[in-house]
């Protein structure tokens, strides 16, 4: 049996409440008693039982974070950890614990996310990789529980969202490609279940349509994985006429394309330009170095945690914050040769 404040109270011949007060540095207890209690507690190996504390104070000091590990959305596997790590450190600053929930499939879950939160008394929930068409969304929005999502735009009274300005990121890349003289720009979509796939694609489509150069035959389905990028790269390499450039929805797929083109003897950026999205570190090590759109994962996670604590403490309603992306020019894009002719 673990030692309790009661144990140390009998040991010292005082009462549990005095021990509690002393240990909690309350002002209405003598410095001397505090010192003694601390010492005895130390000697007896006392450790506070947070379960009891949290029950009595009605405050769990806990955040729930949900990560969606469906293998389908491959990308999340790589990015979720970047977010998680920062969240953890931020939460620690506030003295909060993080309990992790992994969701394999929204359909197979009997427990709703809200139920999980309520049972654990979490004060707020962070979501990484929420899928389109997850029928639990409605429930979250009306739950009253502070919720902030990453990579899923949703704002209501109690829900907020933070992500990179995906449309802005695509604009950055597209304008750069246009400046280089590219017009036949292929696009590789991300996984259909991720909202940002649609956002990125829509912006691409809009910008192509504005120039009257949009064509369905330039868009390819991907799922954020290296493998899907590779598969698309192979298909592109077999097109009767190569596009001027390809915009991959993320770096991983772009790297798959590099592999495919390399096997087919297509030179990047001489024969075709390539741009990714995410700015994964690996992009600096592939050949050629990948030009990409950077999103700051740390900033996103940090903002998310800040937002949720604002909601918890100040009751602010959820907002939707978009962080600025940045164009990282490396070596995978070049001026369109047809243009210079």
């Amino acid at each position: 049996m673990a030692v309790t404040i009661k144990d140390i109270a009998v040991e010292m011949g005082i009462t549990p409440s005095s021990v509690s007060k002393a240990l909690n540095e309350k002002s209405d207890v003598s410095t001397d008693l505090k010192r003694k209690v601390r010492q005895v507690a130390q000697e007896m190996g006392y450790k506070k039982n947070m379960l009891a504390v949290r029950l009595v104070t009605m405050k769990s000091n806990t955040l729930g974070v949900f990560i969606f590990s469906r293998t389908k959305i491959r990308n999340s596997e790589s990015t979720a950890y970047k977010y998680l790590n920062i969240m953890l450190n931020e939460a620690k600053k506030y003295g909060y614990d993080i309990v992790l929930f992994s969701i394999e499939s929204s359909l197979s879950e009997n427990k709703s996310y809200i139920d999980l939160c309520r049972e654990r008394q979490v004060e707020g929930a962070l979501f990484i990789g929420f899928e389109n068409n997850d029928y639990h969304l409605e429930e979250l929005v009306h739950s009253g529980l502070p919720v902030v999502m990453i990579e899923k735009n949703i704002s209501s009274e109690n829900t907020g969202c933070v992500m990179v300005d995906n449309a802005g990121g695509i604009s950055l890349g597209m304008n750069y490609l246009f400046t280089l003289g590219h017009e036949k720009i292929a696009f590789i979509k991300g996984h259909f279940a991720a909202e940002l796939s649609e956002i990125r694609f829509s912006q691409y489509r809009k910008m192509m349509e504005e120039k009257n150069i949009y064509s369905d035959r330039l868009v390819f389905e991907g799922d954020f994985s290296l493998e899907s990028g590779y598969a698309v790269g192979l298909r592109i390499s077999e097109m009767p006429e190569l596009p001027d450039a390809v915009f991959a929805s993320n770096d991983l797929m772009a790297i798959g394309v590099i592999r495919a083109f390399s096997e087919k003897g297509i030179k990047i950026p001489d024969d075709i330009s390539l741009i990714g999205f995410d700015n994964f570190e690996i992009g600096k090590y592939v050949q050629p170095k990948l030009t990409t759109i950077a999103q700051n994962f740390s900033d996103i996670a940090e903002s998310a945690v800040t937002m949720i604590f604002n909601m918890i403490n100040s009751g602010l309603h959820g907002r939707s914050v978009l962080l600025d992306p940045e164009l990282i020019v490396r070596e995978s894009c070049a001026i369109n040769k047809k243009y210079t002719d």
Copy 2:
């Protein structure tokens, strides 16, 4: 205020204890009452308060997982998530929650890991990326708390460990290299604070010494990062005479080497062979495809969770389990040309 069993008891004109029993499907309560209670609970939006349950039952149903996010050990950032994800899903099968602790630096932490565990009443702790010289180790070993570590060989009454057979993995790679006729084999060490760095290096050294071909000038310091691999690659490229092969302690560093060699016009595997360790998916997409030693991250994490539940439930003492690595032959190694001459 959330609805409690007391609320539903008054609502139904029965007592809290009956509600509790009904909700918990105890045998000494009528099927009819169970049905009714369930329905009322449902209607009133009752959610069990796990804090209270856990306090009264003296069972937290919680596992703690510690991840060490010191930026120094870059590799852990990439591998930790692979482990974490599996742990999460495994723990869920047992009905356990996972609370996450991130450790930035063992020195700056005032709270010991054990204190964190005791306070949260966790039933067992999983460690990912434990560093050498972490002075909390001793305390863990004598804590009596079930602990299992990944990537850190430690076994005592209450501590266990699971990792890939790192020495065996190095043997696999070295023998392969020897078979190919390589003798001047350079080695890039991993981060010094990771135990497996030492294990991998020792085995390399041992095998080189057995052939009397060990030389300090063939070993380079790395830290598991792409960047450090790149830096070492550059240094190797400037050696008066190129080694026959280089064995990088992990894939990330190997990829850094590929980049460096590519810049210096050194052809892999024609001019020099290269082998990594980990079998990251990216290895299939770099040029040339990376030959490597595979470790199964899922199996490791799964074994770790299984082990900790065995310790929790059956009081088994900690064991040290080593999983088999596998040689994955791709394209980065070739027969030594000097050998064929």
